[in-house]
């Protein structure tokens, strides 16, 4: 084997690791909002995945391409339209849905261009968020949602229940749901009302024929 040109992060962020675990080896993956390419590099080196990325920031794209990843500078709201149906085995959108202008359109595109879509997002229905709003009457700010309302890139927050409802409306099948709690513990559980109270983040494996 040739020398490895890439310094891959030895440890993936916990949610990314769970997403990586869902991906079958030797598959074709598009990571939308891939940042500096940690997940893609991991999938390439550990699972021999044909890894592609879409990233909006110039710095992120440069970092990715410089480490040998196939990444396009682009925007999930605009640049998914061009991909053909079922072009990828997996399309991954991690913690990015809430920052898109048209989450519904993006979600529809995700399941169109892939056999399996993996979507993760911060759950605005978590009890601490609800309590914050109830008690303080102000937009919640936390370690996982660190921005003030006037500067946040997260313009379309939703709850796990909202997301499940949107999937139903779009006739998207949720084949698996992982709920990440406050301690970072990840559990394979149904995306029900309880999950909507206790989950800080939801990770969903989706499919649409």
């Amino acid at each position: 084997m040739p020398l490895d040109p890439v310094n891959i992060s030895p440890v993936l962020r916990a949610d990314l690791q769970r997403i990586a675990d869902m991906v079958e080896p030797d598959s074709r993956v598009l990571d939308i909002g891939c940042e500096t390419g940690d997940l893609l590099a991991y999938l390439w080196h550990q699972k021999n995945v044909d890894a592609r990325g879409l990233e909006i920031s110039q710095d992120g794209v440069h970092a990715c391409v410089s480490r040998g990843l196939s990444v396009i500078q682009g925007d999930a709201d605009v640049d998914l339209d061009g991909y053909p149906d079922k072009a990828f085995d997996y399309a991954i959108l991690s913690l990015t849905l809430q920052a898109t202008r048209d989450p519904k359109g993006v979600l529809a595109n995700l399941v169109r261009i892939s056999r399996h879509a993996v979507v993760s997002f911060p759950n605005f229905g978590h009890w601490r968020t609800r309590l914050w709003l109830l008690v303080r009457g102000r937009m919640p700010v936390s370690a996982s949602l660190p921005y003030s309302w006037y500067e946040t890139p997260n313009i379309h927050f939703c709850t796990i229940t909202d997301f499940v409802e949107l999937c139903r409306e779009l006739k998207i099948e949720i084949t698996r749901s992982l709920i990440v709690n406050r301690g970072g513990k990840v559990q394979d559980r149904p995306a029900n009302g309880w999950a909507n109270w206790t989950g800080e983040q939801g990770i969903f494996l989706l499919h649409k024929d």
Partner: protein, 395 residues
């Protein structure tokens, strides 16, 4: 004052005496051009750098731009200047000659040793001049493929080029996908825009308006259409830069004087610079070649060759693409690279796309742009790793 004084003294280029490698192709069977005309035998003048490995898997074809040539990383035999991409090609450079075998050929229609309008015809004993058939980017690449065949290289590791060189890289990937592992079109486009055709027409008209052009048959006397060619170069050179770059470099500064002359001398540094660009260009370039090569670029339209759908040019391609553009390039703007990327996405091609921040205009791909070089190196390392070639081991 005009350009005459300095321009008329130039010695003619004699391509047959230039250093470097040469091969004759299309000897037994002439090449059929896109126009339907035939041409052959064809001479291709080329340079190589580095060593071809035993499997012949480490070859990179560098395609030069309109006024470039095969002397990528050599001191230029006419101007004495460093090669046009000596910042990119060399030991330890992004196109690392310690690891890759770099090939660069003078394009068909060129004037640095490859068959073009300057070549003396065997049947008439006179140069082709305007009897040379009109060629296309497709024809240039067809001729390059004959060279690669002769070198016994089954698949090029990469084809890379900026501007017209990028058009050739795209043409290679489209016409011979199985012969290309990675394609890097830089500051390029899948079709030449109306604005670019317009600029080329200005250049051609400048050449043809020069009485010394003589309908392209300027071979007998000493006079050559150097004034027309110099003006063509001056106009074109402006399109390779950007307003901020020109301002930064020259502003409104005066040339060798403290006050305006109230005449038509080169009062401003920018005028003097452009005149210099025009005057030095004619030493190394042939006016007819300029006509033919600009025409080839004008005719380039990959979508048109595929039923009007650009994606069809790359259907089921396995080539890995790296598309790069520069923010201040208004000749081949980022939007055109993005159109190309969308077409490649439509066939789920493996593509990277990077826009590099630069205020240097179209010429940025030829200049010292560390970020560009870093991304280039990274992409090639990644592709080399996938191809099973040694990489630089750098991150």
């Amino acid at each position: 004052m005009g350009l005459e004084n300095s321009v008329l003294k130039t010695a003619p280029i004699d391509p047959t005496t230039l250093p470097g490698r040469r091969v004759r192709v299309a000897v037994d069977q002439p090449m059929i051009l896109d126009s339907g005309a035939t041409l052959g035998p064809i001479t291709i003048a080329y340079q190589t750098y580095g060593q071809l490995n035993a499997d012949k898997t480490n070859a990179i074809l560098v395609c030069h731009a309109l006024t470039g040539d095969q002397f990528v990383a050599d001191r230029h035999p006419i101007t004495g200047k460093a090669g046009w991409w000596s910042m990119v090609v060399g030991a330890g450079k992004p196109l690392d000659t310690n690891r890759y075998f770099i090939i660069c050929a003078n394009v068909l229609g060129g004037c640095m040793g490859s068959t073009g309008p300057m070549e003396v015809r065997s049947d008439t004993g006179r140069p082709f001049g305007l009897d040379f058939p009109v060629i296309t980017v497709g024809d240039m690449v067809r001729a390059q493929k004959l060279l690669i065949d002769q070198l016994g290289i089954e698949q090029l590791f990469a084809v890379i080029g900026g501007s017209m060189g990028g058009m050739q890289a795209l043409q290679w990937a489209s016409a011979y996908p199985e012969r290309v592992y990675a394609a890097l079109p830089i500051a390029a486009s899948a079709r030449h825009s109306a604005q670019n055709i317009a600029f080329h027409e200005v250049g051609r008209q400048a050449i043809m308006a020069d009485p010394d052009w003589q309908g392209g048959a300027y071979f007998d006397g000493a006079a050559k259409p150097t004034r027309g060619l110099a003006v063509a170069r001056m106009a074109a050179h402006i399109t390779y830069l950007s307003e901020p770059a020109l301002h930064r470099k020259f502003g409104r500064q005066l040339q060798d004087r403290t006050a305006l002359s109230f005449g038509f001398d080169a009062d401003f540094q920018v005028e003097s610079y452009l005149r210099h660009q025009g005057i030095t260009f004619v030493d190394r370039f042939d006016a007819n070649s300029y006509l033919y090569i600009t025409r080839a670029m004008d005719y380039f339209d990959l979508a048109k060759d595929h039923g009007g759908v650009l994606a069809e040019a790359f259907r089921a391609t396995k080539v890995r693409f790296c598309v790069m553009s520069f923010t201040s390039d208004w000749l081949f703007p980022t939007s055109e690279s993005r159109d190309l990327v969308h077409a490649l996405n439509a066939v789920a091609a493996n593509v990277s796309f990077v826009e590099i921040e630069s205020d240097k205009g179209h010429d940025a791909f030829l200049l010292d742009e560390p970020e560009f070089h870093r991304v280039l190196r990274g992409f090639l390392d990644g592709a080399a790793s996938h191809r099973g070639l040694p990489t630089s081991g750098m991150d």
